[in-house]
Amino acid sequence: MDYAALASIICAAFVVAFGAIGPALAEGRAVAAAMDAIARQPEAANTISRTLFVGLAMIETTAIYCLVIALLLLFANPLLA
C-alpha cells in the first residue's frame, strides 16, 4: 500500500478544512465591522466598502495559500514523483 499518496490526500483535505477556519472567522468579523460602520455613517459607504473589499481579499489570501498547498500536495507532490 502506498502510504505517501494516502497521507498526502488526507493532508490536502485537512489543509483546506483547517485553512478555511481562520479566514472565515476573520472575514465575518471584517464584514460585521463594516456593516456597523455603514449603519452609523451611511454617507461613507463607498469608502468603507472599497476598503472592505481590499481587506477581504487580503484575508482571503491565507485561505488561497492553503488551497495552493493542497493542490501542490495533490498534483505536484515531490514525494510521489
Binding site: F53, V54, A57, T61, I64, L71, L72, A76
Partner: protein, 237 residues
C-alpha cells in the same frame, strides 16, 4: 482531471512551446489594442457615445487612483489602467466556452507580478532618484532594511499567488461541478466567478498602485511630509 499547475503545450513555434494561456493572452492583447486604437482614432470635444464610454472608464480609473492613494493619477494611469483592463478581460474570458482564463495559470500571474515589481523600481527611481529609492528601504529606520527587502519580494509573490489562486479555484470548482452535475448547475458559480474576477482585477491594480506610492513616500526626505498634498484637495470636490 488535469492538474491546474501544469500547462499543456498546443504547438511549437520553432524552439518555443506555445500553450493555450499564451495564445489567449495574445488574443486579449490584440483585442484590447485594436479596441483602443479604434475608439481613440477620432476624438472630438463633444464626445460620441463610444467616446463617452471610454471617458467613463478612464475617469473611473483616475478617481480610484486618487481616492486610494491621494496622488495625481496622470503618470500611473496608463500602467494601472492597462493592468486592470487586461486582468479583467482575462478573468472574464472564462465565459467564452472552451477558453480557460490565462490568469488561472501561474506563469501569466508571475509575469504580471514581475511587471509590478519592476514598475515599483521604475516609478521609485523616476520620482525620487536612485538615492531616494534606496532610502525607501531604510524607512522608517535603518533597522528595517532586511525586512523591507524581504517585504518587497514577498508582497509581489503574495500578489501573484492571490490572483492565481482565486481565478484558478473559480475555474477549477466550475470544472468539478460541471463534471458532477449537468448543464445548468454551474451557472450561479459562474456568476460568482464574474464578481471574483472583477474584485481580483481591481485589487491587483490597486495594490500595485499602493506599492508604488508607498515606495515614493518612503523615498522622500522627511521634510516633504509636512507639505500638504495638493491632490488631497481634489478629493473634496
Amino acid at each position: 482531471m488535469t492538474s491546474p499547475l501544469e500547462s499543456i503545450v498546443l504547438f511549437r513555434l520553432g524552439p518555443i512551446p506555445v500553450t493555450q494561456a499564451v495564445l489567449v493572452t495574445w488574443a486579449i492583447m490584440a483585442i484590447l489594442v485594436a479596441g483602443s486604437v479604434l475608439i481613440t482614432r477620432r476624438l472630438t470635444l463633444v464626445p460620441s457615445r463610444r467616446q463617452s464610454a471610454l471617458e467613463l472608464i478612464v475617469t473611473t480609473i483616475d478617481i480610484q487612483i486618487v481616492e486610494t492613494t491621494g496622488v495625481a493619477p496622470a503618470p500611473y494611469r496608463a500602467f494601472i489602467g492597462t493592468l486592470f483592463l487586461f486582468i479583467l478581460v482575462a478573468n472574464w474570458s472564462s465565459l467564452v466556452p472552451g477558453i480557460e482564463p490565462p490568469t488561472a495559470r501561474l506563469e501569466t500571474d508571475a509575469a504580471l507580478a514581475v511587471l509590478v515589481f519592476l514598475s515599483v523600481i521604475w516609478f521609485g527611481v523616476r520620482g525620487d532618484g536612485v538615492g531616494g529609492y534606496l532610502r525607501s528601504f531604510a524607512a522608517p529606520n535603518p533597522v528595517m532594511i532586511p525586512l523591507n527587502i524581504l517585504q518587497s519580494l514577498t508582497r509581489v509573490f503574495s500578489m501573484f499567488v492571490r490572483l492565481f489562486g482565486n481565478v484558478m479555484s473559480g475555474a477549477f470548482v466550475i470544472g468539478i461541478v460541471a463534471s458532477l452535475a449537468g448543464l445548468l448547475v454551474p451557472i450561479p458559480l459562474m456568476a460568482l466567478d464574474l464578481l471574483t474576477g472583477l474584485v481580483q482585477a481591481y485589487i491587483f491594480a490597486i495594490l500595485a498602485m499602493v506599492f508604488i506610492t508607498s515606495t515614493l513616500k518612503d523615498g522622500r526626505p522627511a521634510t516633504a511630509e509636512a507639505v500638504p498634498d495638493p491632490s488631497q484637495k481634489k478629493k473634496e470636490t
